[in-house]
């Protein structure tokens, strides 16, 4: 499900320079959870807004809208990013994965199951973003130390204070992942 980003991959500017759009709405295509979705957005639209307002994917939550809390974390080509800090128009052909795409019609991702089992949830508003970061961590670091887990969560704000249960859940999901045949 996750793809490593090549080190030289461009972070934005996926459009040719001559392709100037705006200030009105412009058509773009986003590949979200494996499906190409055509939409029309003004250039200032963030990826978080496009997902929530245009595609009705409201699992991605916006709490600070300036990259300070990570509630809106989604994956671009498998790497966690704050969807409030990416313009939809700059996503280009990178694949977007949201919380809705993590267990699409299938069994829950091990991190999701572990969050339930360890009660790593209180109000739940920061939960989708936390899960996206934790699942990305296990994808590239299947056997993280506790301090690696804490560091991976470092950008997330959970006002309810679920961190101890989140850390336990991620370490448990990691153990279960390793014990699988």
């Amino acid at each position: 499900m996750l793809k490593k980003i090549p080190p030289d991959s461009p972070r934005c500017a996926h459009r040719p320079a001559h392709d100037i759009v705006g200030p009105g709405a412009a058509p773009i295509t986003l590949v979200v959870n494996g499906i190409a979705r055509a939409l029309s957005i003004v250039p200032a639209t963030t990826l978080a807004e496009a997902l929530r307002e245009q595609l009705a994917l409201t699992g991605t939550k916006v709490a600070c809208d300036r990259g300070a809390c990570s509630a809106c974390t989604v994956w671009l080509d498998g790497a966690p990013v704050c969807a409030c800090m990416v313009l939809a128009i700059d996503v280009g052909d990178r694949e977007v994965t949201t919380i809705e795409g993590l267990a699409q019609n299938g069994p829950l991702h091990p991190v999701q199951s572990a969050f339930i089992a360890h009660d790593a949830i209180q109000c739940g508003f920061c939960t989708p973003g936390l899960i996206m970061s934790c699942a990305a961590l296990l994808a590239h670091t299947p056997d993280p130390s506790e301090s690696q887990v804490r560091a991976a969560l470092g950008g997330h704000l959970c006002r309810c204070g679920t961190y101890p249960h989140v850390i336990a859940a991620v370490l448990d999901a990691s153990r279960r992942g390793r014990s699988r045949p």
């Binding site: 999701q112 109000c123 006002r159």
Partner: protein
């Protein structure tokens, strides 16, 4: 002894320590006594959250996720000045802006202290704005962008007026006045005996005083005296304050991120002159409140008014900046405490002078902590609110008791040191609570209290310390609290109430309690809550939700089951009294004759049995009643221990370990309780070390109105936390359960402060204990002048 009551025997005491039985007389419809958790199948087990799957898959619907056909988007115009008069206001250009569907000019502000001689609604022109962010007008348009563009077209001419932000300046006789007239006194939003008001100072409230404190202090053999200061903390709910208001001819429906659906319904019905039956308030998933989403605010009235005018649903959600400046905060305090004691530790007299500011609101008190926790016949508490030109405070997790305990639990430690007593030994002497005695014993053992060394005795630059502190919180019960249980003919079961799950997991414990009574599993109970079309439940504040809603849920399940059994008994050829629900079956005691629950339900004459039960009075009576609520005779105690390391070169405080021993009556779901205790402790550490609202003295603006410059504890600052919850029975209700949210935060900041003292040998009497404050206390940098 009233007619129809019966005698029952209830477990009381602490499991494993002092469990025994007492006799109670209870009403005829009360479910029989629930045995201790060890004898139960579901209650006391850590059932997973009923909405866990929805929350981990992004399917949980929060208020900010609600969209309705034809929905408009609203924004609020706010004052850029901390104090200004509106000389003129022209909304015409905004009204004519394309996409705009309604404009509402606010003519009467709410969400602040109320003036007694209030002249009522007035034209917007001439109104005084009292803080940066004070709402002036609201606009609804087809998109949020159009609404924002229209706001910018509203022409306002302000006359800036002198303002006061600083707490000490505001107390002066010649300070600019926030309110021109006296305001109504209140206590937690309820009317209270009127207090004096001079300038910006409202109070003092002396009502908690008893005995003769001056005489008590004179009789003391040892006196300690100190002043403590606490800062303003903001709630920072991750889901903003938000609603979608849908006004129609047939009634008003409001989807709102709230801690009290039934309360919002009552407030909106009154504000708009609607019958309660025509107002429906809903909340599904709710992204944090911590006290700030308890009541209707100006933004709520504005959105409803815009919907009424536009004949369309209106969505209004505050942005993060608005959240920080105008959604409430924990007020600041200054507390001067004098404590007198005999050489054996017995308190002879206590005097506390406290003041603080909740901006334009009341509520900067120090709670009932000091007056309740230790025995002292001579106690004086004088507390005053000081108005400043800042946004209104709001109750925040254990309001009053959090700053109150920060000060009082430190000065108790100071007394212990003066007496040459161990802090635990002094509390053993002055604390009558048998619950906290057990909590101290258990906590001291787990933290390794015997390792504690004299203050500041750690050699080297990284100094370790151990500290502890205690909590007291009143056990509150909403008597106006009802719950319905339905058994349907196919054997499915629903529990329904307007009670809302703000993240505590109340829906899960409702399923557990009902499942236990019906002999089913929690996942077989459908939980329908957060909708005022159901029986009116309690608020989710004051740590009262479990104590208020689980007893009626169990009683409703018990009565519904009796009906099911009476109906099924003839088919089993047994007397109803001989039948019970167990393991999904209705069976005789010997198990020989039985029906499955579903088979029994299929025998019903009607599609469903429905029973609504409301909260009975505590079996032993309440301490006292307060309108729709009551206070139990005994409060909730907790004890916390902290182990810290202080880097004396950088001033950084590192919390290494916290041990919390807590009481919430009968624990219904230990893992959910642990989650809440983690939250209390982490918010308490964050309050102690990091958080602080900073206002600019020159403009009245908040300088850190976001989530990066307003510092909050995150994963890397999270210590190891060990939570131990007593199983404490009192035989007061059908579940004997109480809350944990507020009891779990009160002791944290003072436990940390006492541990910091033990580490460095210098008392930290002001919050937050950030590196600058620690280094200043150590004399390594000059004392900061302090923010306003």
């Amino acid at each position: 002894m009233s007619a129809g009551t019966r005698s029952e025997h209830y477990p009381v005491g602490i499991a494993g320590v002092s469990l025994r039985e007492i006799e109670r007389r209870v009403g005829p419809d009360e479910a029989p006594p629930l045995p201790p958790n060890a004898q139960l199948r579901t209650v006391g087990q850590s059932a997973p959250r009923v909405n866990g799957r929805a929350k981990v898959t992004g399917q949980a619907r929060f208020t900010v996720d609600v969209t309705l056909p034809g929905m408009l988007h609203a924004r609020l115009l706010r004052s850029p000045y901390p104090h200004a008069r509106i000389l003129s206001l022209d909304a015409g250009p905004a009204e004519r802006h394309p996409g705009v569907r309604a404009v509402h000019l606010i003519d009467h502000a709410i969400g602040r202290a109320r003036e007694i001689a209030d002249p009522g609604p007035a034209a917007p022109t001439g109104r005084r704005m009292l803080y940066v962010g004070d709402p002036i007008a609201a606009v609804a348009a087809v998109t949020p962008q159009e609404a924002q563009a229209a706001l910018d077209l509203i022409q306002v001419v302000y006359q800036p007026l002198p303002f006061v932000i600083d707490l000490e300046d505001a107390r002066k006789a010649d300070a600019p006045r926030v309110f021109e007239r006296a305001v109504h006194s209140e206590s937690f939003g309820e009317p209270a005996p009127q207090l004096p008001q001079h300038g910006n100072v409202h109070g003092p409230d002396l009502s908690a005083s008893r005995g003769n404190a001056a005489a008590g202090l004179n009789a003391a053999e040892v006196l300690v005296e100190a002043e403590f200061r606490t800062q303003v903390q903001t709630h920072c709910c991750l889901e903003p304050h938000a609603l979608v208001a849908d006004w129609r001819d047939e009634g008003l429906t409001v989807y709102i991120s709230t801690q009290f659906t039934a309360g919002i319904r009552a407030e909106l019905a009154e504000a708009f002159g609607l019958p309660l039956s025509r107002v429906r308030v809903l909340v599904d998933a709710m992204g944090g409140g911590f006290g700030s989403k308890s009541r209707v605010g100006q933004y709520v009235l504005s959105a409803v008014e815009l919907s009424r005018r536009a004949h369309a649903p209106v969505r209004l959600a505050l942005d993060r900046h608005e959240e920080q400046i105008d959604s409430g905060h924990r007020p600041s305090t200054v507390q001067r405490i004098r404590l007198g004691a005999r050489r054996d530790g017995t308190l002879t007299g206590v005097s506390i002078d406290a003041y603080g500011t909740a901006g334009v609101a009341l509520g900067a008190g120090v709670g009932n902590f000091a007056q309740s926790i230790y025995e002292c016949a001579h106690f004086a508490l004088a507390q005053s609110d000081v108005f400043t030109h800042a946004g209104p405070g709001a109750p925040m997790r254990a309001p009053g008791n959090v700053p109150g305990a920060f000060a009082y639990e430190q000065i108790i430690d100071e007394l212990a040191e003066r007496l040459g007593m161990d802090p635990l030994a002094l509390r053993e002497r002055i604390d009558a609570s048998p619950v906290r005695r057990e909590e101290r014993r258990a906590g001291a053992e787990r933290i390794g209290w015997s390792r504690r060394r004299p203050p500041g005795s750690d050699p080297g630059t990284l100094k370790h310390g151990l500290g502890m502190a205690q909590s007291h919180w009143p056990a509150l019960i909403q008597t106006n609290s009802a719950c319905e249980v339905r058994i349907l003919r196919d054997g499915s079961v629903e529990v329904r109430s307007s009670v809302q799950d703000i993240g505590t997991g109340v829906g899960t414990v409702l399923a557990q309690v009902v499942a236990e009574e019906l002999g089913l599993a929690p996942e077989q109970i459908a939980v329908r809550i957060g909708d005022t079309d159901f029986a009116a439940g309690p608020p989710s504040y004051g740590s009262r939700t479990s104590a208020s809603i689980t007893p009626p849920a169990r009683n409703a399940a018990y009565r519904a089951l009796r009906q099911l059994i009476e109906n099924a008994a003839p088919s089993l050829g047994a007397a109803p009294e001989a039948l019970a629900a167990r393991d999904g079956r209705i069976c005789t005691a010997d198990g020989r004759r039985s029906l499955s629950f579903r088979e029994a339900a299929a025998l019903l004459r009607t599609d469903e049995i429905s029973v609504v039960a409301s909260r009975s009075d505590d079996y032993g009576g309440f301490g006292h009643r307060m309108g729709d609520a009551a206070m139990a005779r005994k409060g909730l105690g907790g004890v916390q221990f902290a182990e810290v390391a202080v880097d004396t070169e950088t001033g950084r405080v590192l919390i290494e370990r916290v041990v919390a021993v807590q009481d919430c009556g009968r624990p219904l779901n230990p893992r959910q309780i642990e989650s809440q205790v983690h939250g209390g402790i982490l918010q308490g550490i964050s309050y102690a070390l990091y958080e602080e609202r900073i206002l600019d003295a020159h403009t009245g603006r908040m300088l850190n109105p976001n989530l990066e410059q307003y510092k909050i504890l995150r994963s890397r600052e999270t210590p190891t936390i060990e939570v131990h919850v007593l199983e404490h029975y009192q035989g007061e209700s059908a579940t004997d359960a109480y809350g944990i949210a507020e009891p779990s935060i009160i002791a944290t900041a003072p436990a940390v402060a006492n541990a910091v003292y033990n580490a460095i040998g210098v008392r930290m009497r002001a919050l937050p204990m950030n590196p600058a404050a620690i280094l200043a206390a150590l004399g390594r940098v000059p004392q900061p002048s302090g923010p306003p």
